[in-house]
Amino acid sequence: MMEQIWSMLSDPNMQWIFLGCTLLGLSSGVIGCFSYLRKQSLMGDTLAHAALPGICIAFMLTGIKSIGLFLIGAGIAGVVATFGIGYITRNSKLKQDAAMGIVLSGFFGLGIVLLTLIQHGDYGNQAGLDKFLFGQAASMIASDVITMTVVCVSLITICTLLFKQFKIISFDPGFARGLGYPVAFLEQLLMLLIVVAVVAGIQAVGVVLVAALLITPAVSARYWTDRLGLMVVLSGIFGAVSGAIGTWISASVSNLPTGPVTVLAATLLFCISILFGPQRGLVAKRLLRQRVKQRFHQDNERLLEGNVKKEAAL
């Protein structure tokens, strides 16, 4: 086992992939905080599923399996999906969750149909397209990893620079608008960053599960702190650890797909958080309740004893 780890870490190609996936987890964790706090946890999931038909169409139009092209296709599909959700929410009585459910499943259905068409059609070199469903970090080549790294570093930079803005539009968009902040623009920008994070992660983690990297680390981080700054940092760390563990296990154990392993790692971190978080964790809450109960009974007994003594004295 240890030999496998060493051999993996000494392979320069693998080192790059390892770095890329760690950064991916980090940036997804950071952006995920804002989408979670804005109650848009499902947005990332919708965008990821919407990316599949975009990728398929990009491949069908060009016949080339190029990551750059796929990213463009996925990006366009993501934008169309976002507008679709916005349009449905604005022009019908449907709430956003219903609109997202419809758009998500519609786009994903279309994606699967197109994927099947491609696999049964004359598209020559279609092998590996199915890897986009569950992700295969090991299949990435140097240029993919470099693209991913650049994207992730930019995402983190933007979030750091606009932290104040993202914080206030997440907490109180009405007040932010009153201050004169371009709230609509900032909301669109945040959405765009989510699309970019999702698309960047698709090859490594796959469309089905990439959204978990946005949601799970953010929710886990919330259990450890009441400060947004720390929450963003923790969420980034949780995401990075998940990405690293996912890549490592998937590469060293009989070519498991990366996505599910990464998500399992993130979920494990979530379970630890929900149990052992210092204030909100289930264990902490239990202990607190017991302590309160004990103190109440102690005080009560003392009170009763006092009353008895008083009565005896009378």
Partner: protein, 268 residues
């Protein structure tokens, strides 16, 4: 131009903190605010009164440009509000945000400074000192580091007020600051309003409790989709005007005026 006393008064008067002309707002097809025009005097506390759905919050949000209007003009100290944002402070309804947000009271108050900061600048030590001062003005200095979900409703309201104070504005809009607060908070708010008034600031407050209107406000604005009346409290806050604004839906108005036939019949 005739030299009526009114014209002379207008000519010598300072520019109004808020001047609204013909403001109209519609959600879907139904107008919720029709042709509202008024001008407020500097240094006054103004109560906005009206029944539910009369457009009180809408008036406030439209004046602040938070929701689109279908017509009308809003001038703050003689200029469009977009150029005067730093002069305007805003206290939204408490229920408009999620109080489980990971932040503490001081941090929320600091948000009031964001309008004075550059795009990428972080709040400085000076901003923090000022925010803390605003918190202590509403009696919340001891709660600065407290996570906001652990505050009571009244305390949360006071944090919102402190944030508006930190904006250091000249014209304040407050959307139902007295709604569902404890007596201590109500007292803290009214003391604060008086203090703002002494500093020559103008405060417009959406208010629900008719019993306290005469004690709290210099002027009242009665609203029910259209402007019903606006002026000094003692002349405007009358039984007759209230009757008109509320359309006989007031509990303390003379019930005998309502004929039983006005109620929907039960059964045929």
């Amino acid at each position: 131009m005739s030299q009526s006393p009114n014209a002379i008064r207008t000519a010598t008067k300072a520019i109004a903190p808020l001047s609204i002309k013909g403001l109209s707002v519609a959600y879907q097809k139904k107008p919720v605010l029709r042709n509202v025009s008024f001008e407020v005097n500097e240094g006054e506390l103004i109560g906005v009164i009206g029944p539910n759905g009369a457009g009180k919050s809408t008036l406030m949000k439209a004046a602040l440009g938070l929701i689109p209007s279908i017509g009308g003009e809003v001038l703050v100290y003689g200029k469009p509000y977009k150029q005067q944002r730093k002069m305007i402070g805003y206290v939204p309804q408490r229920e408009s945000v999620d109080w489980d947000f990971p932040t503490n009271a001081l941090d929320v108050v600091l948000m009031g400074r964001y309008g004075h900061l550059g795009w990428f600048r972080r709040p400085s030590a000076k901003d923090k000192a000022l925010a803390l001062e605003c918190l202590s003005k509403v009696g919340m200095a001891d709660y600065a580091e407290r996570q906001i979900s652990q505050l009571s409703g009244g305390q949360q309201q006071r944090v919102f007020l402190a944030r508006a104070l930190a904006q250091d504005a000249k014209l304040y809009f407050m959307d139902e600051p007295f709604a569902g607060v404890d007596a201590a908070t109500e007292k803290a708010i009214i003391t604060l309003l008086q203090e703002l008034k002494l500093q020559g600031k103008t405060v417009i407050v959406v208010h629900h409790d008719l019993a306290t209107v005469q004690d709290y406000f210099d002027s009242v604005l009665l609203l029910n989709v259209e402007l019903q009346a606006f002026g000094p409290t003692e002349q405007t806050f009358t039984q007759e005007q209230l009757q008109r604004t509320y359309g006989g839906r007031l509990a303390f108005l003379d019930r005998s005026l309502q004929s039983p036939s006005r109620h929907d019949g039960v059964g045929e």
